[in-house]
């Protein structure tokens, strides 16, 4: 369906000007190799700045890679970037082009520009708006909608005029649970009925674990792992995540707590630890008794998530993946 080989893109260094610091050369994608199969929901997971959007811009023909190849349904997208728009629909992060249109007109115009005849564009517009529950706000301009609703309207525009591949860059940002369910239901329906393939960019690990068939984990422009979410999690199956939240400050005078401190990732009053099960049991026993317990606000024990996989694989960003 979509085969990526050795895809490399380097942004040149920018010389600093007055008041603007320069930036060094950045290798945004570094020899990326991917194989997306027909009908699967394939995810690109990584923190901000990992190269997800650069990779997607190269897959959609928006950005020319320095080296490497992209083939979608057998078409060479690097040589013929103009073919990308005929095999895929892209939902980017920006809605600037549609902001001042009404939801209905945004969907209809996008369908027309995807080559649908007027009547068909109108029919598909009505069907998609109905499917996503956008009927009541069809006549409102996107600008007047909340962030989540606007995102859903852009998603609707991406669906008008069927394409075998949907490339969705963080489609559910800002959406409430109802809208999220509408998005995934619409994706599943297309997949079941027409074998539509989905390439999903996300930094939300919960979403990645629940909707993806396979996921490539990106870090600093490289794919550091690629497997099913369950397969990836097996790599860190021996670990348990312990999160401790202290009331004011950690009671470092307790020797056991001081020992844990060295292994904790701190975020304000929150400590995150990745421990072997027996270590986790000991840690929980320590903090739920005596002086440590008096200082404890909250704690959780959890099996590893894709975030733990990312960190275990050597992901550089300590924060940046989202669990919501």
């Amino acid at each position: 369906m979509c085969a990526v080989r050795g895809l490399t893109k380097t942004y040149p260094a920018v010389r600093g000007r007055r008041g603007v610091p320069g930036t060094p050369e950045v290798r945004a994608t570094d020899g990326v190799e991917l194989d997306v199969r027909r009908g699967e929901i394939f995810g690109l997971l990584g923190p901000n700045g990992a190269g997800k959007s650069t990779l997607v811009r190269q897959l959609t023909g928006l950005l020319r890679p320095d080296a490497g190849s992209v083939r979608i349904l057998g078409h060479d997208i690097v040589r013929h970037p103009e073919l990308a728009s005929r095999v895929l629909a892209y939902l980017g992060q920006e809605s600037t082009a549609l902001d001042e249109l009404t939801v209905a007109l945004a969907a209809e115009t996008t369908g027309r520009l995807r080559g649908l005849p007027a009547r068909r564009a109108r029919a598909e517009r009505d069907a998609v708006l109905e499917e996503l529950g956008l009927g009541p706000i069809a006549d409102k301009p996107l600008k007047k909608l909340s962030g989540g609703q606007r995102r859903l309207a852009c998603f609707a525009a991406a669906l008008v005029g069927e394409r075998p591949l949907l490339v969705l860059d963080e489609p559910t940002t800002g959406m409430d649970p109802v809208a999220r369910r509408a998005v995934w239901a619409a994706v599943d329906r297309r997949r079941a009925e027409r074998g539509t393939t989905v390439l999903l960019v996300t930094h939300n690990v919960i979403e990645a674990e629940t909707v993806l068939d396979r996921v490539a984990v990106l870090d600093r422009g490289r794919v550091i792992a690629c497997d099913t979410p369950a397969g990836l999690k097996e790599k860190v199956a021996g670990e348990v995540r312990v999160e401790l939240v202290w009331r004011d400050r950690a009671p470092l005078e307790v020797p056991e707590v001081a020992a844990l401190h060295a292994r904790a990732v701190e975020a304000g009053r929150r400590w995150t630890l990745r421990l072997a099960p027996e270590e986790a049991r000991a840690a929980v026993a320590t903090v739920t008794g005596g002086a440590a317990f008096a200082a404890l606000d909250d704690f959780t024990l959890a099996t590893p998530s894709l975030e733990d996989v990312y960190l275990a694989l050597g992901g550089a960003a300590r924060q940046g993946l989202v669990r919501t």
Binding site: R37, Y90, E100, L105, G115
Partner: protein, 275 residues
Amino acid sequence: MSVVPAEVRPGGGAPAASGAAADAAGLGPRARLWPSLAAVYRAQLSRARVARIPLLCVAVFQSVGIMIMMRGVVDDGGSDARSVVAGSSVVVVAYVALNLLAQYFGQLRAGGGLDHYATLPVPPAAVVLGAAGAYASFTVPGTVVTAVFGCLLFGLPLGNLWVLVAVIPLAGAALSGLGAACGLLAPRPELATLLGQLGMSAALLLGVLPADRMPEVIRLARDLLPSTYGVEAYARTFGAHPDWTFVAGDLAVCAGVGVVSLAVATWAYRRAAVR
């Protein structure tokens, strides 16, 4: 994981290498020039209606204000009065088609909005011409109101006002082409805004003020500005026996500049969309 098991997915388990011939069938249709131009035009016009009406009012007030000011120093019905009225009317076109369109494309480019169009199989010319056409037509009511008000104020005949039917689209094409090209070529949106504003100011100063008393340099600059030819064409028609050959000549210059500038804008769009 998805609720749809892999087995029921059509082609889910099929090997990827089913042959290039079958794969080629996966291409969706290409949007043809005229239908997509019409779609962009319609969408842009509705955008302009929603968001730009206050700005159109500003453009009209500005032109009416200029004419009222000039009324104090210019005599009724003379050649100066003609150029003031014609200049003020064309300034409305310059304000919307040049200034606002440059700002629009500058912001669209900076905000990543071009990605939307660049990932649709639409000819670049359809996007540029659709937007330019919509902005040019959006100036019609303002230009007509300004022209009628000016004619009444300076005691000029209203009989040849129909020439606006040619002046607005042709001056509109030239100015919106320039505006779009500025917006798409400017490396930063503030620069696009600046270029649009400067172009508009130039159209204002060089178009409204009678040219006869200007120094040679200003007159040269005036000749280089495409809106001048729209102003001249329109001003000529106020005469008792307008020389239609000259009117047509002026309008032909507008049309020529329009074709060139819109072609440049289309090229700039293509360049800005895929990097």
